[in-house]
């Protein structure tokens, strides 16, 4: 398994936020995690990224133990709900930021950034500042900035939460295209049932700090806890004639 998490726990003061959580994920796959706010999903992602320290349990990526490694050493990128573009840098500067940190020659950075701008369908926007972009464009820049560093693992925390329906759909497609193209392994956290089903190769449900990963989508659909069945029943009840 590429990502292996075993018995991971974390509490703040007396609140147990992540509770003996285990999961595993193959390379180049996306695990989507469905969870309401407050279920501990943000803390889980921060633990994996190394932004919080676990009380117990282990995280292994490609067989390598992550304990004690700094965020930079892990090569795991965590994307926030907000796009968090650096306000003092252009689109180009934002996308190339991670490469610049690695002190890659400027000409190489330019080449890679140009290619990324094309793939993100942001041609002609490269020299704009973040405040001149629309919500969807900003989210794409944020994405490109993460993917271009070729992370071992990409963690997404409700990335499309603030977008309108149409933009959201386009972003979901773009995300699938790009992760396939760059061979990205990712965890995708969302509270949207449909998005969870659409985005994940595997799918899990997080509640009160524990995670259940389903065998397949069928299994997920059948579990009453996921809310899929009540959703189906609702729509069906509308179709059935009422006498």
């Amino acid at each position: 398994m590429f990502l292996e998490i075993k018995q991971l726990s974390k509490s703040f003061q007396n609140d147990l936020i992540v509770d003996r959580l285990s999961l595993s994920l193959d390379q180049y796959r996306t695990l989507s995690i469905l969870g309401k706010s407050g279920c501990g999903k943000t803390t889980l992602l921060k633990l994996i990224a190394g932004l919080e320290t676990a009380d117990q349990g282990s995280i292994r990526v490609n067989g390598e133990d992550m304990t004690g490694k700094t965020p930079a050493e892990r090569k795991i990128v965590y994307l926030y709900q907000e796009d968090l573009l650096f306000p003092h840098l252009t689109v180009r500067g934002n996308i190339g930021f991670g490469l610049k940190l690695q002190k890659i020659p400027a000409s190489d950075i330019k080449e890679q950034v140009d290619l990324m701008i094309q793939r993100l369908e942001l041609q002609g926007q490269g020299d704009k500042m973040p405040h001149q972009l629309s919500g969807g464009q900003r989210q794409r820049v944020s994405f490109g900035r993460a993917i271009i560093t070729n992370p071992r693992l990409l963690l997404l925390d409700e990335p499309f939460g603030s977008l309108d329906v149409g933009t959201r759909q386009r972003m979901q497609e773009l995300f699938k295209e790009l992760t396939a193209l760059y061979g990205i392994t990712s965890l995708f956290v969302t509270h949207d049932l449909k998005e969870a089903i659409l985005m994940g190769d595997d799918i899990g449900l997080m509640k009160k700090g524990s995670l259940q990963v389903y065998l397949d989508k069928q299994d997920f659909l059948l579990d009453p806890l996921t809310g899929v069945r009540s959703e189906i029943e609702f729509w069906e009840s509308l179709l059935k004639p009422n006498y």
């Binding site: 932004l51 965020p71 926030y80 003092h88 930021f97 991670g98 940190l101």
Partner: protein
């Protein structure tokens, strides 16, 4: 109704501009005896005298400027860096309340109670002592000021740089400093003005040997030399007005 408003506005505008104009006019005046409404002499005499004589006005201006620049640089620099330790501390609120103690206390009383230490260390009567004394006021101000900067969002930016493969140093230089630039500038001028406007602590620690402009004004008031006093006041007032012209936020302070 509208007429009343215009009248109020006019009075307000004249009221605000009056002190500035009055100071300038007074600095050019002479032989202004009671009960005359206008001075008997109006010209460059006072300014010529003060610039030629050994009044030390030039020196006062230079030492005020030097001391204030130093206090502002030290206060803002250290305040910015160390305010982070407090902002991200789990007992943040307790530390902050403690920071308000020296900030709310009258600087001159603080200086008076510390005078023993200033005397013992030989800092009394030196510009270094005055800088240290004013720094003790400017530093807590700066720490409190920057609490607003170290918020959730700044923290997220820092973490983002870390997960993108950057070091803390890179995060600081390439993201934190550019983000904080505006606030650093405002804090710099605020602490500059705290020092520039300070009188009591400066007079007490400086014991007459460090004559900043405020000390000069007080001396001229005591001597009843109002024409020279007005010149010293002009030196004190016009630099902040210039800052205002550059950016209003440099002069308007708001804590809490």
């Amino acid at each position: 109704m509208n007429k009343l408003k215009y009248l109020a506005l006019l009075v307000l505008g004249l009221g605000i501009l009056f002190p500035f104009t009055y100071l300038v006019l007074l600095s050019f005046s002479g032989e202004w005896f009671f009960p005359e409404v206008l001075p008997g002499y109006f010209g460059l005499k006072n300014w010529k005298e003060i610039l030629n004589s050994e009044s030390g006005m030039g020196l006062s201006f230079i030492s005020s400027l030097g001391i204030s620049l130093l206090v502002a640089t030290l206060g803002t620099g250290t305040g910015f860096i160390w305010s982070k330790s407090i902002a991200y501390h789990s007992q943040k609120e307790t530390w902050l309340v403690l920071a308000y103690f020296p900030y709310m206390l009258s600087p001159v009383v603080l200086a008076a109670c510390l005078n023993f230490f200033f005397l013992k260390s030989g800092l009394s009567g030196t510009w270094q002592g005055v800088v240290l004394g004013q720094y003790l006021v400017a530093f807590p101000y700066s720490v409190i000021f920057f609490q607003a900067f170290w918020n959730h969002r700044t923290r997220q930016f820092e973490q983002l740089v870390l997960t993108l493969g950057g070091s803390s140093r890179q995060a600081f230089v390439q993201v934190i400093l550019p983000l904080a630039k505006g606030m650093i500038l405002v804090c710099f001028f605020q602490t500059f003005l705290i020092s520039w406007f300070e009188y009591g602590l400066t007079a007490l620690v400086g014991v007459g040997k460090v004559q900043t402009l405020t000390v000069k004004v007080f001396l001229y008031i005591k001597e009843a030399n109002f024409y020279y006093g007005a010149i010293a006041c002009c030196f004190l007032v016009w630099p902040p007005v210039l800052l205002l012209y550059l950016n209003k936020r440099f002069v308007y302070n708001r804590l809490v």
